[in-house]
C-alpha cells in the first residue's frame, strides 16, 4: 500500500491520541442511531476536523503542483510550511498583502507580486497594467499611499518587441493613473520554451500616513463585511479570452488602481478594521482569511453579493463559483457594524465603488468558519478553494 496514505493516517492517529478526551466512534450501521445521539456524534466529528484544521500545515507532495499556485489551501500550506518557516519574523507573520515597516519614524508599506497571466492581452487590460495595479492595490489595502514601484521582466527569446513596447506603455499609463512612479527595474531573457512570452514582477513601497492599524485579525463580532463592486469579472474574462471554451460574453477585466477609492473610504470611515483586494482565490478566500486570523465566524448572504449576469452565467455553465473567481479591482473591507452605511456611501461616491454593498457580518458563532445563506434559502459553508479551476489568472 502506498506510503503516503499510511503516513497521513499515522500522523492524524497520533494527533488524536494526544487529544485523549476523544471518544472512539462506533462501527458501521450508525445511520440507525437515534437522532439526538447522531447529532452529538456528528458534532464530535466536526470538532475533530476543527482540531485537524488548526494543526500545523505540512506539504505532503514531493514536488510543486499547479494547486500550490492556486491561492487556496495548497498555497497557504506551501507558504506557511516552507516560506514562513524559513523567513519567520514578526513583520512577515501576519501574512498581509504588504508588510508595515518603521523606518526612522516613518511607517512604510512594502509589497511584491509576480504576474504570469495568460493571455498577455485581454479585454479590459493586459499583463502590464495588471502588474502595476496589483501592486498599487496591495499597498492601498494596507492603508498606505503607494509611491514607487520596481518592474522586473523575464522575457522569452523571440518575444515581439512591439508587444513589449505596448506593455511598457500600458504600465506607464497605469502608473500615471495611480499617481505612482516606476523607478527601478530589471530585465532577463531566457531561451525559447523556458518561459511563456513575458512574466513581470513588481514591488512597491508606500507610506502609511494615517494613524491606523489594519489587519484581518482585528475583525470582531458585529462587524460588517463590504465588497466594493461586482465580483469575478477578471477571472471570467481571462478564462473566456483563452478561447478554449467557445463561450462569448460581453465582459472586461476589472483591473484598476484602488488607491483613490481606499483614500475616500478611510477619509470618511477611519474605523475600518481591515481591507484586502480580492485577487487569486476570490472573495471566498478573503472571508476565510478573516475567519481564521480573527478566530471569528463569518456569515454572508448570497443575495447581497454583487455579481454581473455575464459572470454568473459563465460560472453556471462552467460549474465554478464566482465567490472563488479573481477580481483585480475590487476590495473586501471589514468595518464596525455601526459604520457600515457610511462605508458603503463613501465607496459608492467613487466610480470604482458604485456597486459597493454589505454582504455579511462577523459573528461569534462557529469561529473559523464562513457560512453562506444561499439565495435558495439554505445555509452552507464556504471553504478555502482546493484545486485550481483557473491557472495563471494573474
Amino acid at each position: 500500500m502506498s506510503r503516503w496514505i499510511d503516513e497521513a493516517l499515522a500522523e492524524h492517529a497520533q494527533a488524536e491520541h494526544e487529544h485523549s478526551a476523544h471518544e472512539p466512534l462506533t462501527p458501521a450501521g450508525r445511520a440507525e442511531l437515534p437522532l439526538a445521539e447522531a447529532q452529538d456524534r456528528e458534532q464530535q466529528v466536526l470538532d475533530r476536523i476543527d482540531r485537524a484544521r488548526r494543526r500545523r500545515p505540512k506539504v505532503r507532495e514531493e514536488r510543486v503542483t499547479m494547486s500550490h499556485g492556486a491561492g487556496g489551501k495548497a498555497t497557504h500550506t506551501l507558504i506557511e510550511a516552507v516560506f514562513l518557516d524559513a523567513f519567520r519574523n514578526p513583520l512577515l507573520e501576519p501574512l498581509e498583502d504588504a508588510a508595515a515597516l518603521q523606518v526612522n519614524g516613518a511607517r512604510i508599506a512594502l509589497t511584491t507580486d509576480s504576474y504570469v497571466v495568460s493571455p498577455l492581452f485581454f479585454p479590459g487590460g493586459d499583463i502590464g497594467d495588471l502588474a502595476v495595479n496589483g501592486t498599487v492595490n496591495d499597498l492601498s489595502v494596507s492603508g498606505a499611499r503607494p509611491l514607487y514601484l520596481s518592474a522586473g521582466f523575464i522575457l522569452e527569446e523571440g518575444f515581439p518587441v512591439a508587444e513589449l513596447t505596448r506593455l511598457a506603455e500600458s504600465m506607464r499609463d497605469a502608473a500615471a493613473a495611480a499617481g505612482v512612479h516606476i523607478v527601478t527595474g530589471d530585465t532577463k531573457v531566457v531561451q525559447k520554451g523556458k518561459a511563456d512570452g513575458c512574466y513581470i514582477n513588481t514591488a512597491g513601497v508606500g507610506v502609511i500616513e494615517r494613524d491606523i492599524d489594519l489587519g484581518v485579525a482585528h475583525a470582531q463580532p458585529g462587524d460588517a463585511i463590504i465588497v466594493s463592486g461586482p465580483i469575478g469579472d477578471h477571472g471570467v474574462t481571462i478564462m473566456l479570452a483563452r478561447g478554449e471554451l467557445d463561450i462569448e460574453a460581453d465582459i472586461e477585466s476589472d483591473t484598476a488602481p484602488l488607491n483613490h477609492l481606499v483614500a475616500g473610504l478611510l477619509d470618511q470611515v477611519p474605523s475600518v478594521r481591515a481591507m484586502r483586494d480580492a485577487t487569486r482565490g476570490g472573495v471566498a478566500t478573503i472571508l476565510n482569511e478573516i475567519a481564521r486570523a480573527a478566530d471569528v465566524g463569518v456569515l454572508v448572504s448570497e443575495d447581497d453579493i454583487p455579481v454581473r449576469a455575464e459572470v454568473r452565467g459563465a460560472s453556471e455553465l462552467l460549474g465554478i463559483d464566482p465567490m472563488y473567481v479573481a477580481c483585480e479591482g475590487r476590495l473586501v473591507a471589514v468595518v464596525p457594524g455601526q459604520d457600515a452605511e457610511a462605508a458603503v456611501a463613501a465607496l459608492r461616491a467613487h466610480p470604482l465603488g458604485e456597486q459597493a454593498a454589505v454582504i455579511g457580518h462577523v459573528r461569534q458563532e462557529q469561529p473559523g468558519i464562513v457560512q453562506l445563506k444561499t439565495a435558495f434559502g439554505g445555509t452552507r459553508i464556504v471553504d478555502l478553494l482546493v484545486g485550481d479551476p483557473l491557472p495563471r489568472i494573474c
Partner: protein, 378 residues
C-alpha cells in the same frame, strides 16, 4: 438570471417544504437516495436539507463518475501517460484523484503530460496539432458522458486520425443501483433518479425498481427546486402506497431516452464482462469497453496496461459512503487524514462526491444552525 433564478425561488421552496412536511407520517423515518452525484452537489451547495423535516434523510448514492474509479485504474492511466510520446487528456475532476503513487497532478510534476480538457473533442484538436504524439483520452462517466466519447471516436475515424485513442472507463448506472438494492446493509424508501443519465437512457430502465423492489423512482433535474419537487413526488407516492417511475425532469428527459446517443455508444462500445468499482467491488456487465471495430482507438489494446488491482486503503470507507450505508462524516478518516487537499478516497475529490460536498459545503451541525436561526440573525 433567466432559466436559473426561477428554479431557486425561496418562496416556492417554502411552499413545497410545507407540502412535504404534511405528507410525513408521524413516527415514520424516510430514507431517500439521490443516485446522482450532481444532485448531492446541488443539495449541499444550496443548503437544501434546511427545508426537509428531520424524518427525511437523504442518502447519497453511487452516481459520481470520479468516485467509482478504483485506484488500480488511476495507476493504469498514469502508466499510460508515462509512455514515450503520450499526451493524456482528462476531465478536471480526475486530476486530483489519488492512485497508489499519487494523482495526475503529482504525475505531471514528475514529468507526464496530462492535460485538462472540457470536452473529449478538445483531444482531437490536440491530436491534430501533435501528429508525432499519441493523444489518449481518459474516458470516465456514466451514460451521460459516454455518448460524447463515442461521437469523438466516430469523428476521429471519419477524419482518419491515427494518433487518438481512448482509455475507456465508462460505467453504467443500472447495475450499480441493482447492487445497492440487493445489498443487505440498507433499507431505502425511494430513489431520486439521475437526470443527466436519463437524458440518454430514458426512464424505462428504472421500471424494475418500482415493479420488482416496490420502490418509487422520480427522475429529477439539477436545480434545487427540481430536487425538492422530486422529494415531494416521492413522498406523495409513498403516502398513497404507490411505487412508480415518474419523470420530474420532463423538460429535458424523454421517456425513451436519446436514440441517437444510444446508437453512438452501441456503435463504438460494448459491455465488459465485469468491472471493478471503487468500494463496491466487481460488478458484472457494469461498464463499457471499446468495440473490436475501433480497436485502433483502444488504449488498452494499443499499450500494455498493467491492470494491477490495488486494494482500497483499509481505513477508507468510500464503498460504504457510495452505497449510502455511511454518511460522509461517519467514515473513520473523514476530515482528518482524508480532506479535499489530501484525499485518500475518491468521494473526497470530485465536487460530486458526497464527502467533498459535505466537507466543503455542509460541515456544520444543522440542529445548531436551526437553533441559531430561531434566535435571529447575529
Amino acid at each position: 438570471m433567466r432559466f436559473v433564478d426561477e428554479f431557486r425561488d425561496a418562496d416556492k421552496a417554502h411552499a413545497l417544504a410545507a407540502k412535504i412536511a404534511a405528507l410525513c407520517e408521524p413516527g415514520r423515518q424516510y430514507k431517500l437516495m439521490e443516485v446522482c452525484g450532481g444532485h448531492t452537489h446541488t443539495i449541499y451547495k444550496h443548503g437544501l436539507e434546511d427545508y426537509l423535516p428531520e424524518s427525511i434523510t437523504l442518502v447519497h448514492g453511487p452516481g459520481c463518475p470520479v468516485c467509482v474509479i478504483p485506484m488500480g485504474r488511476v495507476d493504469d492511466a498514469i502508466h499510460l501517460a508515462s509512455q514515450p510520446d503520450v499526451i493524456m487528456t482528462s476531465f478536471g475532476d480526475m486530476m486530483r484523484v489519488p492512485g497508489s503513487g499519487g494523482s495526475f497532478f503529482d504525475a505531471n510534476a514528475e514529468g507526464t503530460n496530462i492535460r485538462m480538457v472540457y470536452s473529449p473533442l478538445d483531444s482531437l484538436k490536440l491530436a491534430r496539432q501533435n501528429p508525432g504524439k499519441q493523444v489518449v483520452f481518459m474516458a470516465i462517466g456514466f451514460e451521460t458522458t459516454a455518448p460524447s466519447t463515442a461521437m469523438t471516436m466516430i469523428r476521429a475515424a471519419a477524419e482518419g486520425l491515427k494518433n487518438f485513442s481512448v482509455f475507456c472507463n465508462h460505467v453504467t448506472i443500472v447495475p450499480a443501483i441493482k447492487a445497492i438494492l440487493d445489498s443487505p446493509d440498507l433499507r431505502l424508501d425511494g430513489f431520486i433518479g439521475p437526470g443527466h443519465v436519463s437524458t440518454v437512457i430514458g426512464c424505462r430502465p428504472y421500471e424494475f425498481i418500482a415493479r420488482d423492489y416496490g420502490k418509487p423512482v422520480v427522475v429529477a433535474g439539477f436545480e434545487p427546486l427540481d430536487i425538492l419537487q422530486s422529494i415531494y413526488m416521492l413522498m406523495l407516492q409513498l403516502s398513497q402506497g404507490r411505487s412508480e417511475v415518474e419523470n420530474q425532469y420532463a423538460r429535458v428527459v424523454p421517456w425513451d431516452g436519446n436514440i441517437v446517443a444510444l446508437k453512438a455508444i452501441g456503435q463504438t462500445m460494448e459491455l465488459r464482462p465485469y468491472f471493478e468499482w471503487r468500494g463496491l467491488g466487481f460488478i458484472s456487465h457494469s461498464a463499457l469497453q471499446v468495440r473490436e471495430k475501433y480497436a485502433a482507438m483502444d488504449a488498452e489494446r494499443l499499450f500494455q496496461v498493467p491492470g494491477v488491482r490495488v486494494a482500497d486503503p483499509k481505513a477508507c470507507q468510500c464503498g460504504e459512503v457510495l452505497k449510502g450505508v455511511l454518511k460522509p462524516w461517519e467514515c473513520k478518516v473523514f476530515g482528518t487524514a482524508c480532506t479535499p487537499e489530501t484525499p485518500i478516497g475518491t468521494c473526497m475529490v470530485s465536487p460530486e462526491g458526497a464527502c467533498a460536498a459535505y466537507y466543503n459545503f455542509g460541515r456544520m451541525n444543522r440542529s445548531r444552525v436551526a437553533e441559531a436561526a430561531q434566535v435571529g440573525r447575529p
